[in-house]
């Protein structure tokens, strides 16, 4: 069994996958990666299933050592990264030979970076998923000294591919759908909400992201007397002090604060990855438009592999240059597949 040894880890490093759908009625939210798109990108880079587990790194990575030859891919928020001291590209796949040391530093944009391994992390499954759900007491952050098992890699030799990520690391425009409680806000309050350049607060995590209004706090006509209802990731709650809070993957399953709308799943990675201080602006999408946007996004994610490119490496940075087959003419060039 392959494994990755954790020599050091930032405080927000957890094993994540697509989470645990199906437990909402039991009070357990789906959880899983804060930026699901990054999981799909890593899976495309390694040519494997999107439901395999990866390491999510909130803000800061760690130092890791391959206990066997491994393949890795890096996705999500770009972070400084090197293998045995040689800088490597983000949004790309690389070989991590046995004994090699992978160092991942802080984010240079965005919030959540991801480390994927060929075969996925093979940590224990609880309630159908490997994802840590810290709010529910499932799993713990990854810590120094841990050895993370890695599953069987079906394509151990396929490395050196890269993918241009969708820009989503600086805030920007976010589309939302009206929901059951949008009507609790006056048209003036809604108009103000749509023109407000919110800044992302430093307070934000896998449960929710707090937004700072540019002017007065927001108020709904129902105040704080709303009956608790089911809440879902993407819901924009206006909390007691009038500040919007976008619920994220590890949110509670019910909530009593009035919700102004629900961010489209297609735009949720942009909220998750908006760094503190970044500006987010909201606009409502009509139901039909939203359905088309979500369907198009699902198709696009399913075909991410079509956008893979060969990673062009600078020979000066290839530390083991002489071990590579550099003479393409050594074979005829027309051998079968």
């Amino acid at each position: 069994m392959s494994a990755l040894r954790v020599l050091r880890a930032g405080p927000g490093v957890t094993v994540q996958d697509m989470g645990r759908p199906g437990y909402l009625g039991f009070g357990l939210s789906r959880g899983g990666a804060a930026d699901r798109l990054a999981l799909s990108e890593g899976a495309a880079l390694l040519g494997q299933d999107t439901d395999l587990a990866a390491l999510e790194m909130a803000g800061f990575g760690g130092v890791f050592e391959a206990m066997q030859d491994l393949r890795i891919a890096l996705s999500g928020a770009p972070m400084s990264a090197s293998i045995d001291g040689t800088r490597i590209a983000w949004n790309a796949s690389h070989a991590l030979p046995q004994g090699a040391r992978l160092e991942i530093g802080g984010v240079t944009a965005g919030c959540y970076g991801y480390l994927h391994v060929g075969g996925g992390f093979d940590t224990p499954i609880r309630l159908g998923s490997r994802a840590a759900h810290l709010a529910a007491g499932l799993g713990t952050p990854v810590a120094a000294g841990q050895i993370l098992s890695v599953g069987v890699d079906p394509k151990p030799d396929r490395v050196g591919l890269c993918l241009d990520p969708d820009p989503r690391f600086e805030g920007g425009r976010v589309r939302l759908l009206a929901g059951p409680q949008t009507r609790l806000f006056s048209s003036d309050e809604l108009a103000r909400f749509l023109s407000d350049p919110f800044r992302r607060d430093t307070r934000g995590n896998r449960m929710g992201v707090r937004l700072i209004p540019s002017d007065a706090p927001y108020a709904s006509q129902a105040g704080l007397s709303v009956l608790s209802e089911v809440v879902v990731p993407g819901d924009v709650q206006i909390t007691g002090d009038g500040t919007p809070f976008v619920l994220m993957t590890e949110c509670q399953t019910t909530g009593g604060y009035p919700r102004i709308g629900t961010v489209l799943a297609a735009d949720l990675p942009r909220v998750a990855q908006a760094p503190a201080g970044a500006t987010l602006r909201f606009e409502f999408a009509e139901t039909e438009t939203a359905s088309r946007i979500e369907a198009a996004e699902a198709r696009r994610i399913a075909t991410l592999r079509n956008r893979l490119r060969r990673l062009i490496r600078d020979p000066a940075e290839i530390r083991d240059l002489l071990s590579y087959q550099l003479i393409s003419g050594a074979i005829a060039g027309n051998e079968p597949g």
């Binding site: 759908p21 199906g22 437990y23 909402l24 009625g25 039991f26 009070g27 357990l28 609880r126 309630l127 709010a135 529910a136 007491g137 499932l138 759908l177 009206a178 929901g179 059951p180 006056s186 006509q221 129902a222 009956l227 608790s228 209802e229 089911v230 879902v232 993407g234 819901d235 007691g240 509670q252 399953t253 019910t254 909530g255 629900t262 489209l264 799943a265 139901t287 939203a290 359905s291 979500e294 369907a295 699902a298």
Partner: protein, 253 residues
């Protein structure tokens, strides 16, 4: 601007009400305040939707509403809405029976002391002496109205009107697993350790969420619960009895 409540209909005017929730969900509301009828309607309608509506991927209830998630690549919103409306029209959901297989669970509880430090404060808010507050909670058989917020965590009600006390404005930084808390005529028995605005009046050794057991979520909506007062020095012994914490289960007819 809210319309006056229509008392001739169990959920009030405009209910049941259907709203999209996100691009793959529908919320079926049975009322804008908690009532016995709206809660029964939500429980019964969810059970029916799970079996009668083929497009439902996942469902959940809160106190007076049902959330239905569907797969938008297989079912459109319009079709889902039509199917839900047809099911709603089939019967009077507000008059529905409680779900079958319900149980009565008696959970030993230490009221007050250092283990549950907000009993006196909560009693005062309810206009009761601490002893009267303990009697009032212990003598009220409450029902699991919904499971939510945290895994396996029950909202229980309804307590007598004196308990219509607000949540505290300041959050308690961390409440232990098994804590019994009170606000707005409801009790919440905490399944995880978390910050909360509810007041901590009792402590149990009961684990409502057992992630590594065959029954990770122990309580079900419709179950009834009595919190039986025990002395504080019994808690350690109850903890030693395992995740039931000395609770006794019996089937309800």
């Amino acid at each position: 601007m809210a319309a006056p409540r229509d008392t001739t209909r169990p959920g009030g005017a405009g209910f049941p009400r259907l709203d999209p929730l996100g691009s793959d969900g529908l919320l079926v509301g049975f009322g804008d305040r908690l009532s016995e009828a709206a809660n029964r309607a939500a429980l019964a309608f969810r059970a029916a939707a799970d079996t009668a509506l083929p497009g439902v991927a996942e469902s959940s209830t809160s106190l007076a509403s049902v959330y239905l998630r569907y797969d938008p690549s297989a079912t459109g919103l319009a079709d889902m809405r039509a199917a839900v409306e047809a099911l709603l029209a089939q019967r009077d959901w507000y008059g529905a029976d409680l779900p079958p297989g319900r149980r009565l669970i008696r959970i030993p509880t230490v009221f007050g002391t250092d283990l549950a430090p907000q009993l006196a404060e909560a009693a005062e808010a309810a206009g009761l002496t601490p002893d009267a507050a303990i009697r009032s909670i212990a003598e009220t058989r409450v029902r699991v109205q919904t499971i939510g917020f945290a895994p396996g965590q029950p909202y229980l009600g309804e307590l007598p009107p004196a308990w219509d006390i607000p949540r505290q404005s300041r959050l308690t930084e961390r409440i232990p697993v098994g804590a019994l808390t009170v606000a707005i005529r409801q009790l919440v028995l905490f399944s995880v350790s978390t910050p909360t605005g509810w007041r901590h009046v009792g402590q149990t050794a009961f684990r409502a969420f057992r992630p590594d057991s065959d029954t990770p979520f122990v309580l079900r909506a419709g179950d009834e619960v009595e919190f039986v007062p025990v002395p504080a020095d019994m808690l350690d012994g109850l903890c030693d009895q395992g995740p039931d914490g000395g609770a006794a289960f019996e089937p309800l007819p």
